[in-house]
Every structure is written in C-alpha cells, then in structure tokens.
C-alpha cells in the first residue's frame, strides 16, 4: 500500500473568468505508472495537464510532483516534461540540437557528454544516427520520436503527453501506441497521457481518469472502467454500448443488482447511482456481452434480426425486440468463431446476458453528452 506517488492533485480547481474548466479534481499517480486522462474536447483534460506542467496556475487546490508542492514553481524548474500535441519541435535546429536543448539549458556538462546522452535517447526511440537531419526532413512518426527523445533525455520524474498521437494516420498510430507502452515499461518513467481517444487510453494505461465538464467521473483500471463504469457518462463515453432509455426499476434483487422494466420486458443489470424501486433508469449493455441463440428459447428476450453488418472478425447484428410495447432494438456483436450460430435477416433469436454485463443509471440530461469516436 505504501506505493510511491509521483504526481498528486488535491482538490484542484481552475477558473477562466466565469468558466470553471477544472472542478475540484483530486488524484494520485503512482510512480512508474501509465496514467491517462480521458475526456471529450472541452472537458478540461488539457487544462489539467497544463497545470501539472506549470503553464496554468490552479485557482484553488494544490499540485505535488515527487512530494513537493509545485503551485508556484515555473515550468522550467519542474521535474516534468511535456510532449506537445503539435510536438513543437524547433525547426531552427537539427534533431540533435532539439534533443540536447534541455541539456544545454541545464548546463554543467561538456558538449560531448550532451551529444552522447542525446544519441542514447535517439537510439532508444529508434532514431540512431539521424541526429544531423533537419526537422522538416523526417516523417511524422519520426517527429513523434524526436519529441519523445527530447523530453526523455532529461530523465524527468513525469512525462506529460498531450495527445501526441492524434495527428498520425491509423496504422502509424497503432504502431506508436504499442511502442510508447513498451518504452514506458522499459524506462519506468511515469507517463501522464491526455486523450479523447478511448481506444488509445484503454490499450496503454494502467489507470484511467475519465473527466467530463471539469469533473472526474471515475478513476479505474481500463478493465474496471470498461466492465464497471461508475457513472452514466463513463458508460456512454467508454467503448460501444447499447443504450436503453427511460425504463423503470421494478425491484432490487441484491444491493447492486436490480430488475427493470423496459416496454414491458423485464431485464436485469448492475444498479448504479443508488437506484431505488420506481426510479427511472437507463440501461447500458455491451454488444459483445449479449448471448445470441437462434430460434425461440427459454430464459431470454425474443427479437428479430433487422440488419447484419459484416465487419471481418465479427458482425454487428441489429435486433428489434418482439415483445416490447414500444420500439426497442439492441446491437449484438457476434464473433465469427466456429461455434457462432448462422443467422440471417428476419430470423427470430433469443437474447440474454449476465446481470453484470449490463449497467443501470439514473437518466441524465442528454444534451450534455458529447460522444466522440
């Protein structure tokens, strides 16, 4: 339990005039972990990062890096470095000049020593021997690596990354994603990664903090976040989800399991938000967690296939529920395994899921939710 904490935010609030960009945010980032802050644009995630880096000062609350309170410490004195969204490489210098920039500011080292360290850092990110190239002579992926090397060469306590993979095309982003994770594991530096892309956050992070409208919604491991979202927002923002709206809780089966009624069909799910019988409820069900059986079977919900979208390893199947009093539909992700049932449009199927595959929450004002791909 006595894990060392590298970065700590304690009740941090940041206001820009009337606007509250960050609202009472607290979290601890353990040493050597990969921590992501995930949220839609305008959620305040960039402001959180800029406060850790020192480019913004909190209106209230304290920030600690390596146990030291840094609220009043300027960015050039903090033991953290940032990889900028648009990388911000210095075009007036060659690659080596970029990587040695921080070392030269620090001083107390001969030119040869600096260049040796810079070459090592470049080798670590796979750019051995490219030091003499100009910034505009290398590809986007290589520029990412230079930006990483430029920060890592300073051996920071914390490396802050402001969505640097966002500008890359899909293939390169996938490759860099893994590379970044391996690099982090190898070096043991604490990474704080800001992103609106949940696939990146889920794949790379040890811990994810989901932020919305300046507030932390949930801090958890990727798996926890995916399987047991704590709030309505997390359930709708992270991963694909079926969303059944405006049901009613009929009874509680357990402290955290409830039975609900959607258009006359009884359904079960994990009860979030302290749901009580009689409460209005929204239910989220992962499309890959729904069991689909052909024909009419016992113990499930009857539906008719209205659409099949083939997508390589799986198909996304849209099913209209047959016995409901209002139109309801669920998407089911069917993996193309050997056991997968053969289905066709207009087939009648039976759907069922374990209670813990579905998460129920109080409905919220939908206009606030902005779901990004």
């Amino acid at each position: 339990m006595s894990q060392e904490i590298d970065v700590s935010l304690v009740h941090v609030t940041k206001k820009f005039g009337e606007l509250v960009a960050v609202n009472d945010v607290s979290f601890d980032i353990p040493k050597g972990s990969f921590f992501s802050v995930l949220g839609p644009s305008g959620s305040g995630k960039t402001t959180v990062l800029r406060m850790i880096a020192g480019f913004e000062t909190p209106t209230a609350g304290d920030i600690y890096i390596g146990g030291e309170r840094v609220n009043d410490m300027p960015p050039n004195k903090r033991r953290c470095n940032m990889v900028f969204q648009r990388l911000a490489l210095f075009p007036m210098m060659d690659i080596l000049g970029n990587v040695t920039f921080g070392l030269r500011r620090r001083g107390g080292m001969s030119k040869d020593e600096m260049e040796k360290l810079a070459e090592d850092a470049l080798a670590r990110v796979g750019l051995k021997g490219l030091g003499k190239r100009k910034i505009n002579q290398i590809s986007g992926g290589q520029q990412q690596r230079v930006a990483l090397a430029r920060s890592l060469v300073l051996d920071p306590t914390v490396l802050l990354l402001d969505e640097p993979l966002g500008s890359l095309d899909l293939k390169l982003r996938q490759a860099m994603k893994l590379e970044l994770k391996h690099l982090q594991a190898r070096m043991g530096t604490t990474f704080v990664y800001i992103t609106h892309d949940q696939t990146i956050a889920l794949a790379m992070s040890d811990t994810i903090a989901v932020i919305n409208q300046g507030k932390i919604e949930q801090i958890a491991s990727p798996e926890e976040l995916y399987r047991r979202p704590a709030t309505h927002f997390v359930a709708s923002f992270v991963g694909e989800n079926n969303r059944l709206l405006n049901g009613r809780v009929t009874r509680l089966l357990d402290d955290n399991v409830c039975e609900m009624d959607f258009g006359g069909i009884p359904m079960v799910g994990r009860a979030g938000d302290n749901l009580k019988p009689g409460d209005a409820v929204d239910l989220f069900i992962r499309p890959e967690m729904i069991l689909l059986r052909p024909g009419k079977r016992e113990g499930g919900i009857l539906g008719k296939i209205s659409e099949i979208n083939f997508d390589g390893s799986h198909s996304l199947i849209k099913i209209d529920l047959l016995e409901s009093s209002r139109p309801l539909a669920l998407n089911v992700k069917l993996q193309h395994t050997e056991q997968a049932p053969e289905v066709a449009v207009d087939d009648v199927v039976t759907l069922s899921w374990r209670w813990d595959a579905a998460n129920a929450f109080h409905p919220v004002d939908q206009s606030h939710i902005e779901k990004e791909a």
Partner: protein, 282 residues
C-alpha cells in the same frame, strides 16, 4: 505541361510593371552610370568624377558618416521595433493589438515632409517644447533642439519604425506559441528562449526590416536636411548640391553610382555574414 502554358499566358500582366521599372529605374540609372564617366565640359570618358570622391576627404568623410549614422539608427530602430512587434503579436489581445497597430500606422498617412515640418515647430528655439520648458521655469532662454545629430536620429528612427515593425510582426506571427512553451518546459528561460527560438525564427523578418530601414536612412533627404540643416552632412545632400547648386551633373551622377554600388554590396555582405537567403528573407 498544361500549367506551363497556362502560366506563360499570364506573363503579359507583368508588362505595365516592367515598363515602369524600365523607364523610371533602369533607363535613368543607365544614363546616370554613363554621365558619371563623362567629362563635364567635353563629354569625353574620364575617371575624374570618381577621383574627386576619393581625393577630397570631405566627400569620403560625409559618405562614411552617412553609412555609420545609418547603421546606428537602423540598430536603434531594430532595438525599439523588436520588443514592440513581439508585444503586439504575442502578448496583446486582439482588441489592443488593432489599437496599437493603428497608432503605429496612422502617422504614416501624413507625408514625411509635413512630419518634418511639425517637428521643426516642436523643436525650434521658439517652438512648443521650449515654450513649455520656459513656462515651467526649467530654463530661462530658448534652447535650439534642431540641427543636432540626435535630432536627425530621432527623425530617422521615427520615419522608418513601421518598415521594421511590420516585417518582424509578420515573421513572429508564424511562430507557434507552443514552441515558446516547449522551450520553457525543457528548462529554458526568457533570454535563452529569445536567443535560441524567437530571434532565429524572426531572423528573415529582422533582415528584411533592417535592409529596408538601412536603405531608407541612407537615401533619406527630407528629414535629414530639415532637422539637421546645414550641419547634417548627409551624402544625399552632397548629391543634391552637385546636381542643383553646382550644376555638375557628372559629379552628382558619380556620387549616385557610388551610393548605389555601396548599398548593394553592403546588403549582399550582410546577408552572407548572417547566412540569410535574400529570397527567403523577402
């Protein structure tokens, strides 16, 4: 191929400009060049006009004074303009930016001649400044502020500020703010960020501004003669005297060619030394 043809077709649009340059710049300069090698009376070829420049120390001294004075005023203009341009582009918000820019541009809607005359009204012995100094009891007699080197410098700097500020602003505008933040993030401070990031980025703008201002100062006549009077000892005044006062066109032409040749050489050498490319700078 298609774009090539297309491109060539538009070439005739350049004709008016080429006519202007040809008739008002190239032809006169060819004539000037020829005149400078002619004897005043016989019109025969001679190097006498150039010899006069190098033999009479007055002319060489005036020339050197003009060049050094121009270098100093250009440097001072740069020293004032760079922080101004930096604050306008990187510090001020949109609203103040427009306001400050307006304040800088507006005076240029008045001609240089009128500006110089207004300064004479301000600076002369019985002028506005002296009136207030005497009214406040700071001095009991009129002080002549005109006809000093410093007055000439003040005037030259003022008339050329805009030509320094605008190119520097243009180059600073294209500097991504995150580069400045990155410098601080990596441990840089105000001076190292200035030296390593901001000034190198603004280099072409500084170069263009400096070349323009240097040329404007070197070739200035109105501001210099009105504020400096007989003591201004500016090389353009020597040219004016040869043409207008002494009717020695050939001597004046030689001075003109010397000034032009020097200017071109000087700019070329400065560009070489600072490793700037003229096309890039422009």
């Amino acid at each position: 191929m298609w774009t090539r043809i297309k491109r060539n077709k538009g070439m005739w649009l350049l004709i008016p400009m080429l006519l202007w340059i040809g008739m008002l710049f190239v032809l006169p300069h060819v004539k000037l060049f020829m005149l400078s090698f002619m004897d005043r009376r016989s019109g025969a070829f001679t190097l006498h006009n150039y010899a006069t420049f190098f033999n009479k120390s007055l002319y060489t001294k005036v020339f050197i004074r003009t060049v050094i004075f121009s270098i100093i005023t250009t440097s001072l203009t740069l020293a004032i303009s760079f922080p101004t341009a930096f604050i306008i582009t990187k510090v001020l918000g949109q609203k103040f930016k427009a306001l400050v820019l307006m304040a800088i541009v507006l005076p240029y809607w008045i001609s240089e001649l009128i500006q110089a005359f207004t300064w004479m009204v301000l600076f002369r012995e019985t002028g506005v400044i002296n009136y207030f100094l005497q009214a406040l009891g700071i001095t009991d007699h009129g002080i002549e502020f005109l006809y000093h080197n410093s007055t000439i410098a003040v005037g030259l700097i003022y008339t050329s500020l805009l030509f320094m500020i605008i190119p520097i602003m243009n180059s600073l505008d294209t500097l991504d703010d995150s580069l400045i933040e990155a410098s601080y993030d990596l441990g840089g401070n105000f001076w190292s960020t200035m030296r390593e990031i901001i000034i190198p980025h603004a280099g072409p703008g500084i170069m263009v501004g400096s070349i323009m201002v240097f040329m404007l100062n070197l070739g200035n006549y109105v501001t210099v003669t009105l504020l400096g009077g007989k003591n201004s000892l500016w090389f353009t005044e020597a040219i004016y005297n040869q043409f207008i006062v002494r009717f020695n066109q050939n001597q004046g032409a030689a001075f003109g060619v010397i000034l032009l040749t020097f200017s071109v050489l000087f700019v070329w050498i400065v560009l070489k030394i600072t490793k700037q490319d003229l096309t890039e700078a422009m």
